[in-house]
Symmetry: D3
Amino acid sequence: MSNSVTEFNEYRAKMNDEILGANNKILKRIFNLDTNAFQEGALDKRTKEIVGLACSMVLRCDDCVKYHLTKCHELNLSDDQVYEIFSVANLIGGTIVIPHLRRAVEFWNELKQSETNDL
Amino acid sequence: MSNSVTEFNEYRAKMNDEILGANNKILKRIFNLDTNAFQEGALDKRTKEIVGLACSMVLRCDDCVKYHLTKCHELNLSDDQVYEIFSVANLIGGTIVIPHLRRAVEFWNELKQSETNDL
Amino acid sequence: MSNSVTEFNEYRAKMNDEILGANNKILKRIFNLDTNAFQEGALDKRTKEIVGLACSMVLRCDDCVKYHLTKCHELNLSDDQVYEIFSVANLIGGTIVIPHLRRAVEFWNELKQSETNDL
Amino acid sequence: MSNSVTEFNEYRAKMNDEILGANNKILKRIFNLDTNAFQEGALDKRTKEIVGLACSMVLRCDDCVKYHLTKCHELNLSDDQVYEIFSVANLIGGTIVIPHLRRAVEFWNELKQSETNDL
Amino acid sequence: MSNSVTEFNEYRAKMNDEILGANNKILKRIFNLDTNAFQEGALDKRTKEIVGLACSMVLRCDDCVKYHLTKCHELNLSDDQVYEIFSVANLIGGTIVIPHLRRAVEFWNELKQSETNDL
Amino acid sequence: MSNSVTEFNEYRAKMNDEILGANNKILKRIFNLDTNAFQEGALDKRTKEIVGLACSMVLRCDDCVKYHLTKCHELNLSDDQVYEIFSVANLIGGTIVIPHLRRAVEFWNELKQSETNDL
């Protein structure tokens, strides 16, 4: 894995452990819901991750974008598909989203690169 | 069609004509992009309308929600599918989205009702 | 109760029933969390409703503001206390919040008036 | 004046009086700053009202848009100038701004109409 | 103090001096209001800092969260109290707030650690 | 040029090339619109860059602020003018904007410094 992908995953895992360890019921349930909401249902996982990525982008949250990009990569979305999500999100959210698009493209490239490195 | 569905569509159409009639190039191109971005591509129309609906909901725009609900209705999305989009959007966007969810459910019901009336 | 207070409560109750009746697990749990999060805990109810009101105001959600104003009224917050919440929210959120402040003040006055009417 | 222009101005004036009458120091100073910030300075009034209009639009506040449109109308901005502000705001803020653009165009037309009526 | 707490405070102080040194009246008054709004009043300081923290979190501003966490630490809020504010803010603001929650928890831990170091 | 100005420009240019190289039509047109919208028109370039800067600030996008500050610097806006834009944006957007103001002031100083270095 590229350094930035690994770093992102490790920080995320470490802090999630910390948060869940605090034993706040509401936060634990929100984290639990977050896992459940993206399971296969009336909509398939792919569609839900696409939704998660697009919403993260219009709300301009870099870490959320990275998380859902990782999931989209695991689910084998193609470059063209990912760029179509980017394009719809940038149209809806406006040019204010572009700096987040730049960082998303950089991370997407690192995900693809890390895959090659793992071979 | 129910009154509120018809009213929404008529106001939308009337004001869009007004805006496009003003001959501002940038606005015309944005409207044009809006049509193109939701066409069949690497992602199908259904997925794109689902994305449009979810993004509209997390950004809390009632009229955008209504527009994409109308499209989802035309594309025959089921109740369960629409409620899954609602659930993901409310989880990502938080309880601040709930008042928009109420109005979305009301409009979705009117869309389904108007269909019955049209028979 | 004044008409607008009653109308707000009735529409809210009706649509919440509709949403919960749809049996979407995620939405039901979000609604359930919403009830739990504002219960007495390490922070008392009053403080939590104050937080709910301030957050609703900076996020500029009129219906959420109305809901938490109703709760603050039930918990006997004084005018001065409510206006201090308004002032902090308008400072943090900026003058873009002012139109929501106007509607909040109007609803707060109706809540106080409805109380008189109920005597 | 058209009814909706008059209604908007009257509600705004009435509620501002109510707010200022509550004697909350912070709110009074915010209202005072709001008046001062848009005075002639290193930037002229026109430029500041243009900024006020554009910011109100990207932040999607209909009432703020109406207020700054009224000021732009008083300062004799042309249709072309107002539509250029609209276009920049819709590009930066994205298509999520379009429903607010529709209501802005409607209000701008009413402002121009009310002027004719006043002759 | 931990390095990140010190760094945050130093950068904040340095840039505030720079901003106030520019002698822009409006900005100076906004900074002044910011100090006044959080003073003891109809609501006590603690409640106001709790409001400041929650609003900063739902508006997803890391630096504002850090600032109000520092104040909450000075006012001796307990872990349980701080986590209840986090939980309400994450429920209202949605899972999009979680990355900010991670950084908030990290900073809160550093504040507690720095206290130990200062002994 | 100062390091941070150069770094910002280089990263921006590199990632824009990457994005445009992906051949997504919608994204290419959005980038193209972005260039066109800020050209001389019914409003002059200066006014449009002022609008771009203010909108970027109220929407709290550091990179967008840096981009428009660079343009304002090229168009020879004075310190007083830039601070007036800052003040209006911070009033409209609230104190939640202040951390972005700090970084904006830092970048503006670097732009002025880089100019001196280039002599």
